[in-house]
C-alpha cells in the first residue's frame, strides 16, 4: 500500500517537468525527445504504481473555506480513467516524436503536452466535485495552446471556439456544483434539483461533445494529429464523460433522475447525438473531421450507458470508454501517418494507398472493423454490454437507444469500411501515379500503431479482466451511493 499523499507528486511531476522545459532551454530535437520521453515514461510508471498499489483514502490539499476544499482521492472509477490515460500517453508521445520531427516549435508542443498529462491525471484523482472542476478548467487551459499549435488562422479560430465552448460549459457545471455544495439538493424541491442536474450534465457535456454543444470538436481536428488523437479522442473528451459520471453517480446520485423525465431527456439527447454524429461522419469527406464526428457519436454511446443509471449500463459505458479510446486513437494515428507522409487529408485522395502504406492501413482496417463493432475486436464487447444494459432496462427509451446504436453501427460501417475499400480496392479509373513515391511511416509511428492494433485484438479476445474491473466499479458505485 502506498499512501495517498503520493498522489500529488504524481500530478505535479509532469506539470513541473513540462513547465521547466522552457527554463532549461531544451529546444534541440534530440534533447526534447529524451527529456519528454523520460518524463512521460516515469509519469506512466508512477501512475500505474498508484493505480495498482495506492490506498483509497482522501487527502486534503487546501481548505479555502469550510465548503471549498481541494481534495485528492484515487478511487476505482478514477483509476480506470487514469489507467487509460497512462497507457495511451507514452504511445502517443512516441508517435508525436516522428509526426513533429520537422517542426521547429516542437519544444513548445511537448511542453504543453507534458503538462496536459499531469492535469489529466489530476482529473482522475480529484477527490470532490470542486477539485474536479479546477482540474477540468486547467485541462482546457493547457490544451488550447496545443490546438492552435500550427498558428494558421484556421487553427486559431478552432482554438477560440474550443476555449469559448469549454469555459462556457464549465461555468454551467460550476453552477450545478455550487448548488450541490451549498446543500440545495436537500432544501429545494426535486424538480429544481433535477433542473440543476441537467444544467451540470450539459455543462460537462461540452467536453463530451454532446449535441447541441458538440460543434467545437470537429473544428478542433485542425490540431496536430497527436493532439486530435489523444486529447480529442481520449483525454479531454473522456474527461468530460468522466465528469458526467462523477456528477451523476457521485454528486447527485442516480435516485433523483432514474425513471423520471430527466433520465428520458438525457437518453434522448444521447440518442440524437449518436445519430447526428454518425450521419455527419458519413457526409464528411475530410478524414480527420470524419473521425471527429465519429467521436461525437461514440462519446454519446458512453453517455447513453451512463444515463441508463444501472450497474450494467455503467459497465458498458466504462468498457466503451476504454475500448473506444484505443480504437479511435489508432484511427487518428493512421490518418496522421498518411497526412505526415503525403500531405493528403481528404478521403478520396486515399485511392490505393493501402498497397503503399501496408502496415498503416492494416492497422487502420483493424480499427475500422473494431469501431464498426465486429467481433473478435474490442468494439464489439462494449457495444454488446451497452445493448445488454438497454435490454435489462426494458423501457421504451432504452430500446430506442439500442435501435439507434445498431443503426449508428451500420452508419459506422458505411463511413469506416468505405474508407478501407478506397484504400485497398481503388476504382479502375483512379489515378495511382501519384502514389509511386509514397512510403510507409517510420518506426516511431508504426510501433505505437502496431501495439494498439494488437491491443484491440487482444482486449477483444480476452476482455475478461477489463469487464470484471468495470463490473466491480459499477457495483461499488451502487453500494456506496453518492459519497464523493
Amino acid at each position: 500500500m502506498i499512501s495517498s499523499a503520493f498522489l500529488l507528486p504524481v500530478i505535479l511531476f509532469p506539470i513541473l517537468s513540462g513547465a521547466l522545459m522552457p527554463v532549461l532551454r531544451i529546444r534541440e530535437r534530440r534533447a526534447v525527445r529524451i527529456y519528454t520521453g523520460t518524463v512521460t515514461l516515469l509519469t506512466s510508471g508512477f501512475a500505474w504504481l498508484m493505480i495498482l498499489c495506492a490506498e483509497d483514502l482522501p487527502v486534503m490539499l487546501l481548505q479555502f473555506t469550510r465548503d471549498f476544499t481541494l481534495k485528492l482521492r484515487f478511487d476505482s472509477c478514477g483509476r480506470f480513467f487514469a489507467g487509460i490515460a497512462a497507457t495511451l500517453w507514452p504511445l502517443t508521445v512516441c508517435y508525436a516524436f516522428e509526426y513533429l520531427e520537422d517542426d521547429p516549435r516542437q519544444h513548445v508542443f511537448f511542453t504543453w503536452f507534458t503538462m496536459a498529462y499531469g492535469v489529466t491525471l489530476g482529473v482522475s484523482m480529484a477527490g470532490n466535485l470542486f477539485s474536479l472542476y479546477i482540474f477540468y478548467e486547467l485541462l482546457t487551459l493547457t490544451t488550447v495552446p496545443l490546438v492552435m499549435h500550427t498558428g494558421t488562422p484556421e487553427a486559431i479560430r478552432a482554438a477560440r471556439t474550443y476555449f469559448a465552448f469549454s469555459l462556457g460549459g464549465a461555468a454551467f457545471a460550476l453552477i450545478s456544483i455550487l448548488y450541490l455544495i451549498f446543500g440545495g439538493a436537500g432544501k429545494e424541491s426535486l424538480t429544481v434539483t433535477r433542473i440543476f442536474y441537467v444544467i451540470g450534465v450539459l455543462g460537462f457535456g461540452v467536453k463530451a461533445a454532446m449535441f447541441p454543444v458538440h460543434a467545437w470538436l470537429p473544428k478542433a481536428s485542425v490540431a496536430p494529429t497527436p493532439v486530435t488523437a489523444l486529447l480529442h479522442a481520449v483525454a479531454v473528451v473522456k474527461a468530460g464523460v468522466f465528469a458526467v459520471t462523477r456528477l451523476t453517480y457521485f454528486g447527485y446520485g442516480t435516485e433523483i433522475a432514474a425513471g423520471s423525465w430527466v433520465q428520458y431527456l438525457l437518453l434522448v439527447l444521447a440518442a440524437v447525438t449518436i445519430l447526428y454524429g454518425a450521419a455527419r461522419a458519413v457526409r464528411e469527406v475530410h478524414w480527420k473531421r470524419r473521425l471527429a464526428y465519429s467521436t461525437v457519436a461514440n462519446l454519446s454511446y458512453i453517455l447513453f450507458g451512463i444515463f441508463l443509471m444501472s450497474p450494467v449500463g455503467l459497465t458498458g459505458a466504462l468498457l466503451h470508454m476504454a475500448f473506444h479510446a484505443e480504437i479511435k486513437i489508432l484511427a487518428f494515428f493512421a490518418a496522421g501517418a498518411v497526412l505526415h507522409r503525403t500531405g493528403r487529408e481528404y478521403i478520396f485522395e486515399m485511392n490505393g494507398l493501402g498497397r503503399k502504406m501496408k502496415v498503416t492501413f492494416i492497422c487502420f482496417t483493424v480499427s475500422a472493423v473494431a469501431l464498426t463493432g465486429i467481433p473478435p475486436f474490442a468494439g464489439f464487447i462494449s457495444k454488446w454490454h451497452l445493448l445488454l444494459a438497454a435490454a435489462e432496462e426494458n423501457t421504451v427509451w432504452a430500446y430506442v437507444g439500442a435501435g439507434v446504436i445498431l443503426l449508428a453501427a451500420l452508419l459506422t460501417a458505411v463511413y469506416m469500411l468505405g474508407m478501407v475499400r478506397i484504400a485497398w480496392f481503388p476504382g479502375k479509373d483512379a489515378d495511382l501515379s501519384k502514389n509511386e513515391t509514397v512510403r510507409d511511416a517510420g518506426p516511431w509511428m508504426l510501433v505505437p500503431m502496431v501495439i494498439l492494433a494488437a491491443g484491440i485484438l487482444l482486449t477483444g479476445l480476452f476482455p475478461g479482466i477489463v469487464i470484471r474491473h468495470a463490473q466491480a466499479i459499477a457495483e461499488t458505485v451502487r453500494a456506496m451511493g453518492g459519497e464523493f
Binding site: P375, L410, V414, F425, G464
Partner: protein, 495 residues
C-alpha cells in the same frame, strides 16, 4: 477429432492469407490453391463421419463464448461448402486466366479471398453458439466482398459496397435479436428445439411481444444474405458483377449461409414452438412467398443471363426459407433438400454462364442462339441443371419441392397452406419459361442461323466440374430417399 474442426477453419484461412506472401508464378498459385481446396475437402469428408463434438475456442464472458460444435446441420452445410468450392475453384483456374485484365485485380488476390471466404463459411457451419456464428457471419461478408469487386469497374465497386452494407446492416438487425435473447434466454448455445416456448419457459411468456418482435427482426436481418424481400436488393446487383466462379459460390453456397443462420436462430435458440401459429410465422411465410414469386417474375423479364440467374436465386432460396418457416418436419426436410438441390443446380448454371462468357463473351440470352452447336456438352449440363431447378422428376429439385408442398398442406395454416403450393407451382412454370427457351434456342437455332464454329468446349478444367454438378443434381434426386430419411431422423429433436 475435436481439433480437426479447428484445422478445417485454419487451413483455408492460413493458406488464403499466406498466398500473396509467397509470390509464386501462376502455376505455383494454382497448385497451391488447388491443394488447399482438396485438403479442406478431405478434412471435411473425415468430419462427416465424426460423432457430435464440442470445442470451446475462448470465452470472453460467461455468455460471450466462441465455441465450435459439430452436428448434423453443420455436416450438411459443411459438406456443401467443401464440395462446391473445389468444383468452382477448378473451373476458376481456367476461367480467371483471361479475367485478369488491365486495371482489374491480380488473379492471386482472387484466390486468396476465395480461400478466406471458405474458411469463414466453415466457421459459420461449425459455430456452436450465436456469438460465434455472428462473428463468422460478419467475417464472411467482409472476406467475400472483394470477390465481387474483382473487375474494379465503377459498377462492380458499387455492387460490392451494396452487398457489404446490406449484409452488415442485416447482421446488425440480427444482433438486435441476439442481445435481447442474451438477456431473456437461458443461453446462446445451440440446442435442438430452442429455449423459448418449450417446457420451463415462463420467463419468455412474460416478455412475449418483445421476444416475438425481436425474433422477426433477427430472422429478417439474417435473411439479407439469403436475399429475402425486403433485404434482397443487393443480390441481383452483386452476384452478376462478380466473375463467374465467384457468382457461382455466392449464389450456391454463401447465400445459403443466411439460410443456415436463420435455421440456427429459429430452430436452435428461439424454438419452433414459440413461433408456431403466431403473426410472426404468417409474416415470414408471406415474405418468403412474395420473394419466390417476385424473383421468378424478375428473372423472366431479365435479358442478361447472369442477372436472370441471380433473380432466379432470389426466388429459389426463398423456397427453402418458405419450408423452414412452416415449422414442421416435412417443410424442414424440404428446405434442407432445396438448399442442396439449388446449390448443385445454381453452381452448375453460373459456371455454364461463365463458359459462355469465356467463349465469345456471350452475356445476353439473345447471344446464345445456336450455342448448342458450339458447346454441346456445356449446354447439356445447363439443361440438366435447369430441369432440376424447375423441379422435374427424378431430379433433386423435384423431391425438395414435393416435400415443401407436403409441408405446406400439413401445416394447417389457413389460406397459406394452399396458396403456398399454388405459388410454388406458378413459380416453377416461370422457372421453366425463363430457362428452357435458352436450351431450345441453343440446340435448334432455326433456319436462318449462321454457323460460327462447331465443338469448341471449354477444356477439361471447365467441363469436368460442370459434368460432376449436372450428374450431382440427378444423383441427389435419385438417392433423395436416403437424404430425406437421414434428415427426418436426425432433425426429429427439433420439433
Amino acid at each position: 477429432m475435436k481439433i480437426l474442426m479447428l484445422f478445417l477453419i485454419l487451413i483455408p484461412a492460413l493458406s488464403g492469407a499466406l498466398l500473396p506472401v509467397f509470390r509464386m508464378k501462376r502455376k505455383g498459385n494454382l497448385i497451391y490453391t488447388g491443394a488447399a481446396l482438396l485438403v479442406s475437402l478431405v478434412l471435411a469428408f473425415v468430419l462427416l463421419f465424426a460423432s457430435e463434438a464440442e470445442l470451446v475456442l475462448f470465452s470472453m464472458t460467461d455468455k460471450l463464448r466462441v465455441s465450435l460444435h459439430l452436428d448434423l446441420l453443420s455436416k450438411v452445410f459443411m459438406g456443401l461448402a467443401a464440395c462446391g468450392f473445389p468444383l468452382a475453384g477448378f473451373f476458376a483456374f481456367r476461367y480467371m486466366e483471361h479475367e485478369e485484365k488491365e486495371g482489374s485485380f491480380k488473379e492471386t488476390t482472387f484466390y486468396s479471398f476465395y480461400l478466406l471466404t471458405l474458411a469463414a463459411l466453415f466457421g459459420m457451419d461449425l459455430s456452436g453458439n450465436l456469438i460465434a456464428m455472428y462473428f463468422f457471419f460478419e467475417m464472411l461478408t467482409l472476406l467475400s466482398m472483394p470477390l465481387v469487386l474483382f473487375e474494379r469497374t465503377k459498377e462492380s465497386i458499387a455492387a460490392a459496397l451494396k452487398y457489404l452494407f446490406y449484409s452488415v446492416g442485416g447482421a446488425f438487425l440480427g444482433l438486435a435479436a441476439l442481445f435481447v435473447l442474451a438477456v431473456y434466454a437461458p443461453s446462446l448455445d445451440f440446442v435442438p428445439g430452442g429455449y423459448l416456448g418449450g417446457a420451463g419457459a415462463e420467463a419468455s411468456e412474460a416478455h412475449r411481444t418483445l421476444l416475438l418482435v425481436m425474433s422477426l427482426l433477427g430472422i429478417i436481418g439474417f435473411s439479407a444474405k439469403a436475399g429475402m424481400y425486403p433485404l434482397h436488393g443487393w443480390l441481383p446487383t452483386a452476384h452478376p458483377e462478380a466473375p463467374a466462379p465467384a457468382s457461382a459460390v455466392l449464389s450456391g453456397i454463401i447465400a445459403k449461409a443466411g439460410v443456415l443462420a436463420i435455421i440456427r436462430l429459429l430452430y436452435y435458440v428461439i424454438g419452433p414452438n414459440f413461433l408456431r401459429g403466431t403473426w410472426v410465422q404468417i409474416t415470414l411465410l408471406s415474405l418468403s412467398l412474395l420473394t419466390v414469386f417476385m424473383g421468378s417474375m424478375m428473372a423472366y423479364r431479365e435479358k442478361n443471363l447472369k442477372k436472370r440467374l441471380a433473380y432466379s436465386s432470389v426466388s429459389q432460396i426463398s423456397y427453402a426459407l418458405f419450408g423452414l418457416f412452416l415449422l414442421n418436419p416435412a417443410g424442414f426436410s424440404g428446405g434442407i433438400l432445396q438448399v442442396l438441390a439449388h446449390a448443385a443446380a445454381k453452381i452448375c448454371l453460373f459456371l455454364t454462364a461463365g463458359s459462355f462468357i469465356y467463349h465469345g463473351n456471350k452475356r445476353m440470352v439473345s447471344d446464345l442462339r445456336g450455342i448448342g452447336k458450339i458447346m454441346p456438352l456445356t449446354l447439356i449440363a445447363f439443361t440438366l441443371a435447369s430441369l432440376s431447378l424447375v423441379g422435374i422428376p427424378p431430379f433433386s429439385g423435384f423431391v425438395s419441392k414435393w416435400f415443401l408442398a407436403q409441408g405446406a398442406l400439413e401445416s394447417g395454416i389457413s389460406v397459406l397452406s394452399w396458396l403456398g403450393p399454388v405459388i410454388l407451382l406458378i413459380s416453377a412454370l416461370l422457372t421453366a419459361a425463363y430457362l428452357f427457351p435458352i436450351t431450345v434456342a441453343g440446340f435448334f437455332p432455326g433456319k436462318d442461323y449462321q454457323e460460327e464454329a462447331r465443338n469448341r468446349e471449354g477444356g477439361a478444367l471447365m467441363l469436368i466440374p460442370l459434368m460432376i454438378l449436372a450428374v450431382g443434381t440427378l444423383l441427389l434426386g435419385v438417392f433423395s430417399g436416403f437424404f430425406s430419411g437421414l434428415f427426418e431422423q436426425g432433425f426429429a429433436a427439433l420439433f
